[in-house]
């Protein structure tokens, strides 16, 4: 159900009470002449965790990169349709401020080759946070949020690349959280991690519930079921990715409306 977002709500969301939702309307993406996905309409509910599932190559990641307009970096890429952040078209927003509001976590942990501290400070400064005390406070806050503070507080000047894979991914999450985003896009955030780190990151994602609007791509159906409120299944049909079914997690997993969904979640296809 979509409610028009009032200005009051919009402002409230900026203080973190009620994060903005996102909505894709008839979104299609082409790489040159090849269609990655077609006619996807999907609402990502405010404060919820939405999981995108589906086999490889069905356009999940491409879909994700449209939402923060990262797809525009690929020269041959053409996007049609409309994406709303709250009630505003993302094309009408300044791309820098859009990406501040819509953070992203990549599949492979990708901290910058800077110190742990600088990894969070650099984007903050770029977005106009200059005061030393404020930066220190935010760095500590977000590192605590991702459970990394006690592990790194004595070596904030150490290279971020010396952290373990799981720690790196948590640092990347902290870096994204430092910008106080409304929405977080995650592209298989656990798939490059060992099972224990993966469980830690998964718990972190769960802890974001209600505070951020989360859209997470995952290949792990059990994970989708554990962490998500809503699920959307992408599938390749007619040589392009399509949204087959979406809805609350219980509904999609227990009484799927579509035969392909039923087959996929039961492990018979995909």
């Amino acid at each position: 159900m979509t409610k028009p977002i009032t200005r009051e709500q919009d402002l409230a969301s900026l203080t973190g009470n009620n994060p903005l939702s996102m909505k894709a309307e008839r979104l299609s993406l082409f790489y040159g002449n090849k269609s990655a996905f077609k006619d996807v309409s999907l609402e990502i509910k405010s404060g919820g965790i939405t999981a995108l599932i589906g086999p490889s190559g069905c356009g999940k990641t491409s879909f994700l990169t449209c939402l923060n307009r990262l797809a525009e970096l690929t020269p041959s890429c053409k996007v049609s349709g409309r994406i709303l952040l709250g009630n505003r078209d993302v094309q009408a927003l300044n791309v820098i401020s859009l990406r501040r509001q819509v953070g992203m976590l990549f599949q492979k942990p990708n901290p910058f080759p800077l110190s742990i501290f600088r990894n969070i400070e650099f984007p903050l400064r770029e977005h106009g946070v200059r005061s030393r005390e404020e930066i220190d406070r935010i760095v500590e806050d977000v590192l605590r949020n991702v459970g990394l503070w006690d592990e790194v507080k004595n070596r904030l000047k150490a290279p971020a690349l010396s952290l373990s894979g799981g720690q790196q991914q948590r640092l990347c999450l902290a870096r994204a959280l430092a910008l106080k985003p409304e929405v977080l896009l995650m592209d298989e955030p656990c798939s490059a991690l060992d099972p224990i780190s993966s469980a830690v990151v998964e718990d972190l994602i769960t802890s974001l519930h209600g505070k951020y609007t989360v859209l997470v791509v995952t290949h792990n159906l059990a994970q989708a079921r554990r962490i998500a409120d809503e699920v959307a299944l992408f599938w390749v049909a007619d040589e392009t990715g399509q949204l087959i079914e979406s809805g609350p997690v219980a509904q999609v997993f227990e009484s799927p409306q579509h035969a392909v969904t039923a087959a996929y979640i039961n492990g018979r296809r995909g």
Binding site: P75, G103, F106, P113, L114, P123, P159
Partner: protein
Amino acid sequence: MSKNSPTPGQEDELQLTSTLKRAVTRSLPLWISSLQPAELLPTVILWAVATVVTGALLWLLSDVFWHGTGQISWEFLTTSPSNAGRDGGIAPIVVSTSLIVGVCMAVSVPLGLGTAVLLAEFASNSSGLGQLVRLSLDVLAGVPSIVFGLFGNAFFCKTLGLGFSILSGGLTLACMVLPILIRSTQEGFRAVPEDYRRCAAALGISRTAILWELLLPAAMPGVTVGLLLGLGRALSETAALIFTSGYVDRMPESLFDSGRALSIHIYDLAMNVSGGEPHAYATALVLVGFLVLINGTTSWLAERFRQSKIFVL
């Protein structure tokens, strides 16, 4: 007894070979003894090739050292040449060379970095303009220096009216150095993982900041290689400078004066002045020292810039 087990006679033989092997193994360095026989020949060939190359270079350098060291003195470095260079020193020539290289670098580094950034970060690989520029640069990098000299003479000396001057020479060298500098800087940028760019873009960081804080430091090894190759080419250039900066061996008073570069001085002493050889060797030694000094400083500065920005693991 299974059919694979050795007979008593063969056992002795095996023992003998293994004893032999052990003896040989002990007498050779570990890395050779651990090689398979099939790897031995290629290894020897590779090492021989490397030795020949290094040897040739060492020979050349030691020759220059051998003949040049005796001539070098404080006086040689601080006085003007006299008697066509047979006597006196090379002070004005060192100054002219520094000025020519200075002009060359002051022009080519900003232009080169700018073009490389444009080609690597802003022009897509498939765009027509990008491809055209890349192709032109590769062609230019292979053009003989005498052609650059003629171009410099026609354009800088005559068309722009700069005459035979340090400025003309420096600018001509800049034209020669640019293709090398641009191409290797561009390779440096290309070696930076695409992840940094996407990730920084996803954080809403502006392209200028990404460039300055991450990409340029990470691409620094490529930039350094370009600078060193370029500097080497500029310092050792003779043909292009004869037509542009000329070979007046007086102390230059401004960039518009003609000035003789070290390499031209060497050429002149070795080819045109009988009895000039001792000072030719000494000048060559100074040139080599100059090159080592500039290269060392450049690498050090580049590395410091890189490490002040990013961690290198």
